[in-house]
Symmetry: C2
Subunit: 280 residues, 2 copies
């Protein structure tokens, strides 16, 4: 590749750019970002060689990577697909059904790769970008049969080059599973933060006493609303389904406490311990 | 000190023992544990020099440390207080009201230090003990005015020696704050694990896709029921209060999704972001 365009030079786009640079994958990396502060920061950190308008960047790039909030992806993606010929476009959003649905009938659909690298942190913007973000992580490629084989090959070689495990899945399944393994975690964390902020008026006490356990359950609550409101919007049905189940699971704990049913409380915890089967 | 007795040679007791040994604080460390597998493991890992019965250990020790599930503390503590003369007894449990209440009228109350080191992991048993567990963490000393001044001085010197920040608090306040910064995190994590285990039947999908975000919100779900059922029992009122608030905060997210009230959803996330004020 000669030129890579990164649309959205934040946490994900910036981290991808850093790694591309370090691996020498492109002569030139062009950034595109509406946020002028982020644009300046991306240049300053050397994430990209230059900033440009979307149109200019797309016209010059062999590969275009979209790393913007999911509510912005569909429109930008359509614009790009209508502009390109044989270039490849890849998005990295956390929802897939909405985005793939928006472009499935586009004559250039084959040039698009719907991807979701399973990595992120609670921070955002180019300052949060880190080089070894993706290493050893999974990446989901959705509806790959709708992509041209050369475009898919390029994407696979890129993710393998990033040392990622490639998983194929259709977009609908992706969104269902993502609701369980990522989206609900964010909601519980946001709600836990709001609980503590609402009820615990002594900041000092939280600050002094908060241990690693609290930090780990609440850290996702620092995640950006610009990213997460659109994700929850686009995956509304799945998220609601998981959220309803989660509330009903919490009500079981509540009922055990209210009724002093310690035996059942113990069972609930023993059952939860089975998560060890899945996460080490 | 010549001899320290550690009652309960698990995660907390074992970690404390390791550090005492490394700092050369005792000629002899005696372990007490009902669980014969844990007893053998503690000897095997060199956490303690010998295992003994409670009575024998207490008769030989200058300092007795209780690191057993909170439902067992009160009875054992009373037994110990009735046996000792000038020795010091310290517990390390996650609840404090129940325990202090049980011994407040004991003639030897002054020899007891109610402490709660704010450290733990989701693992348990002597195999989980680590040497630098407590370093840089907070320890809450409760109702310190009810302890004899020499006993308190010893406890303070120990926790300073462990490089911990000492916070004084009354037992009732401790349990209230602990519900917010620790106990609710465990319930949300247990409930999240149960949610995923209930609804997501494809273990492989979770396993492959689970990212750091999921792991961090769910890891406490691996915590032991032997520890946590008693903690939730003893802190029932505070935990119920926080849990009710937490469910009502989750219902706000649910309502936003159902009503497609994206503006309010965004506000909820912006509000949650204020947790940055408290945790870095």
């Amino acid at each position: 590749m000669k030129t890579i365009a990164i649309v959205g030079v934040g946490l994900i786009g910036g981290s991808f750019a850093l790694r591309c640079r370090s691996l020498g994958w492109a002569h030139t990396i062009i950034g595109v970002d509406n946020n002028s502060v982020h644009a300046a920061e991306a240049l300053n950190r050397g994430l990209v060689d230059q900033m440009a308008s979307l149109e200019e960047a797309v016209s010059k790039a062999d590969l275009i990577v979209l790393a913007i909030p999911v509510n912005a992806v569909s429109a930008v993606l359509k614009t790009i697909l209508s502009q390109i010929d044989q270039q490849v476009v890849m998005d990295m959003g956390s929802t897939k059904s909405h985005i793939t649905h928006a472009v499935n009938d586009h004559p250039k659909r084959g040039r698009f790769i719907a991807s979701h690298p399973m990595w992120g942190t609670e921070y955002s913007g180019p300052a949060a970008a880190v080089e070894n973000a993706f290493q050893g992580k999974a990446v989901i490629l959705c509806d790959a049969d709708k992509s041209d084989s050369d475009a898919l090959e390029l994407a696979v070689s890129i993710f393998k080059g990033l040392d990622m495990r490639i998983i194929h899945m259709d977009a609908v399944d992706h969104d269902l599973h993502a609701a369980y393994v990522s989206h609900i975690s964010h909601i519980t964390s946001f709600a836990l933060a709001n609980t503590v902020l609402e009820k615990e008026k002594e900041d000092d006490a939280i600050f002094e006493m908060a241990s690693a356990g609290f930090e780990s359950t609440v850290r996702l609550a620092k995640s950006s609303p610009e990213m997460w409101t659109p994700i929850l919007m686009q995956n509304k049905e799945n998220v609601l389904d998981v959220l309803n189940e989660h509330i009903s699971q919490l009500r079981k704990f509540k009922s055990c406490l209210e009724k002093e049913n310690w035996e059942y409380l113990n069972e609930l915890i023993v059952n939860a311990n089975q998560i060890r089967r899945i996460i080490k």
